[in-house]
């Protein structure tokens, strides 16, 4: 039975990686640090898989471990990016409560992206998929970094608004 449990765990792990990653990145919105924490979290998950009870919600359990890593990280590096424990806990809790909604939103994000003009979609691909820094992307785009940040802010706002609208429509239907 142990073998079956292990296989189930592996499947849960792979299937839910993106939720754990997003959990971390939304609490610490720095790609480099988030990647590091995601790495540490993955390791902990694999080291403690036996303690996972299959009756338990996997995402909740895995995000709990991720949360501890984020909190420890903030304690060690209390910069402007950090959050106090109480605020961090509140955000983490709200996030888990909304897990289902966030999955809906993520699905709708795709259709909202498709509605953007091609050049904006490409800009998002470049900015979020860039190898280098935002300054590099700005240079390649022939913009100032400031203008690039401004445009990205606007695009995020447009997308967020679009997702919210579609979600409301779906709920009415």
């Amino acid at each position: 039975m142990d073998r079956k449990r292990h296989a189930q765990f592996a499947e849960l792990f792979v299937r839910n990686q993106n939720r754990v990653y997003r959990y971390i990145l939304s609490l610490i919105p720095d790609r480099v640090q988030a990647e590091d924490l995601f790495q540490q979290t993955s390791l902990t998950l694999w080291e403690t898989w036996e303690r996972y009870d299959p009756g338990q919600d996997f995402v909740r359990w895995a995000c709990g471990i991720a949360h501890n890593h984020v909190r420890n990280h903030f304690r060690k590096r209390p910069g402007p990016l950090a959050l106090s424990d109480d605020v961090l806990d509140r955000l983490g809790r709200r996030r888990l409560e909304q897990d289902g909604v966030l999955e809906d939103r993520r699905r709708l994000l795709e259709s909202c992206l498709a509605e953007l003009p091609e050049r904006h979609r490409l800009l998002i691909d470049r900015a979020y998929g860039a190898f280098g820094t935002m300054d590099d992307v700005a240079r390649e785009e022939g913009r100032t970094p400031n203008a690039l940040y401004k445009l990205l802010r606007r695009l995020r706002a447009v997308l967020h608004e679009c997702v919210g609208r579609k979600l409301a429509l779906e709920r009415q239907a």
Partner: protein, 506 residues
């Protein structure tokens, strides 16, 4: 949501939040559930955008923080990887062998736990569902269970599907936990162990108990610390034997065609020919590969069109990418032999599909028809000439192969190496005029003929070792250079972003 909160959160995402800003942000969030909800959904949008594009970033650049995780605690060593517990008692299954010679041949395909010595050849071992290990002799492997094995010597390449994540391969210098990926180990006679990850991620546990997460494109030598070594794409690849090697397939393709048709979508405006296909509509692309054990040799092909150009995009998995030393300046029969992508394409709207046209050998003495020598049947070879860093093109026409041109003006092409070093992408814009079709270029709704070919070369980029052909008319037999009717259907779609399921293997 109020502008102040939005500005603070955006500044946080951009890394420009000040200490005062942080204090204010926390104050706004602390007792306001609506503000918390807004931040949760807004930052998740940011995180979703990042997750979807995470794979575009080469693993090494995703985190340049120290890759090491110090885990020297005795507990960690004792626990090791907890996966060691609960051995299943079952072993593996011998799925396939190529020229395999064992020291003691297995009695059946079922391989119970135990030590197996492969003197030479290749053996493919299937472990628990989703786990396949390709062993290259001389090699020693101890099968411990359906999800654990130990390589004592030799080379092993492991392919682990997500369903098989958790497979552990032990080596004399540490063990490798696979999280759904492809990796290889090479263990020398004295136990020196090299590990490289081709795709996905693994966690290596070293003798001292420290762990390292490795991602696709990384290679290390496992010692008391893992030392980075250059990634050698070809080290674990079962390389194509070459046309003259009796163990190979000669000049026959290494794949069974998977597609009867290729899909062309309208070109997106402003496509930049730079070898980066991220600005393409790739909804019509097809993926194909050589048959096992050579399935690492693979092609993803895509085509777009407008009234002036045919666009060709490809991503080719190749252990020796972009090495061709075949000069466009020196006359050759096979410009593509140092590694290339080639197309046979019919651009005659009146001809329709199947294309018609026979080579002299196939006509058996009958005189040539106008179709046999049509300018609108083209053979196009695309290759990268390494010494001059140049994207080249070769064209000839009809089934009599007249009108040879090398690098004529008007086309644009670019190549780019994959970050893993195990392949390349190419991107070309070929004017219809070069295909003698500018008077009446293919239009939306047309179905014409086209076939794709890939040639893989030796490490020197001088002679070809094997080929793949896809996009083939299943109703015809014979060679694509003998008979244009063998070419697959090339469907010119009126609109892009094809619905999922449009590109279907046969």
């Amino acid at each position: 949501m109020n502008d102040e909160l939005r500005d603070l959160v955006d500044a946080r995402l951009e890394g420009t939040l000040t200490p005062e800003g942080r204090a204010r942000l926390e104050e706004l969030l602390r007792n306001d559930p609506a503000a918390q909800d807004w931040v949760v959904t807004y930052t998740d949008l940011h995180a979703s955008l990042q997750w979807e594009r995470r794979d575009a970033i080469p693993p090494r650049r995703r985190h340049w923080a120290r890759p090491w995780i110090a885990a020297a605690s005795a507990a960690t060593i004792l626990i090791g990887l907890v996966l060691a517990v609960g051995r299943s008692g079952e072993g593996a299954r011998l799925a396939r062998t190529v020229d395999a010679e064992w020291v003691r041949a297995p009695e059946s395909a079922a391989l119970p736990p135990g030590l197996y010595l492969l003197r030479r050849g290749i053996a493919e071992l299937a472990f628990d569902p989703g786990v396949v290990v390709l062993l290259e002799g001389p090699a020693e492997i101890e099968i411990r269970s359906g999800r654990r094995a130990a390589v004592r010597r030799g080379k092993a390449r492991c392919r682990v599907a997500p369903s098989g994540a958790g497979f552990v391969l032990e080596t004399p210098r540490g063990e490798v936990l696979d999280l759904g990926t492809e990796f290889g180990v090479a263990v020398s006679d004295d136990g020196r162990t090299d590990l490289q990850v081709h795709e996905g991620e693994v966690i290596a546990t070293l003798e001292g108990g420290s762990k390292q997460r490795l991602l696709g494109g990384q290679a290390v030598r496992l010692e008391t610390a893992a030392r980075e070594v250059p990634f050698q794409p070809d080290r674990f690849v079962r390389v194509l034997p070459g046309p003259e090697d009796p163990s190979g397939r000669g000049s026959r393709p290494y794949n069974a065609p998977r597609f009867d048709e290729v899909h062309l979508v309208p070109a997106l405006p402003g496509v930049v020919i730079d070898g980066d296909l991220s600005d393409w509509d790739l909804s019509g692309r097809f993926k194909t590969a050589c048959d096992p054990p050579f399935e690492s040799y693979a092609l993803e092909g895509a085509m777009m069109y407008d009234d002036r150009f045919l666009y060709v995009g490809a991503r080719v998995a190749d252990p020796f990418p972009m090495r061709s030393r075949i000069s466009p300046a020196i006359e050759s029969d096979i410009y593509g032999r140092g590694g290339s992508v080639a197309l046979r394409i019919a651009a005659d709207r009146r001809m329709g599909w199947p294309a018609r046209g026979l080579a002299e050998d196939a006509r058996k003495g009958r005189p040539a028809t106008p179709e046999d020598v049509s300018d609108k049947l083209s053979f196009v070879v695309l290759w990268y000439y390494a010494p001059e860093d140049r994207a080249c093109i070769f064209l000839r026409h009809g089934m009599d192969f007249h009108g040879v041109r090398v690098n004529p003006p008007g086309y644009r092409g670019a190549f780019r190496r994959l970050p893993s070093g195990e392949g390349y992408t190419l991107e070309y814009a070929i004017p219809w005029s070069l295909l003698h079709a500018d008077d009446d270029p293919p239009r939306a709704g047309d179905v014409l003929g086209a076939t794709w070919l890939v040639h893989w070369s030796d490490p020197a980029g001088k002679t070809w070792k094997g080929q793949l052909i896809d996009g083939v008319n299943p109703a015809e037999h014979g060679w694509n250079f003998h008979n244009a009717a063998t070419w697959g259907r090339a469907i010119y779609h009126p609109g892009g972003r094809l619905a999922p399921g449009t590109v279907r293997p046969r």
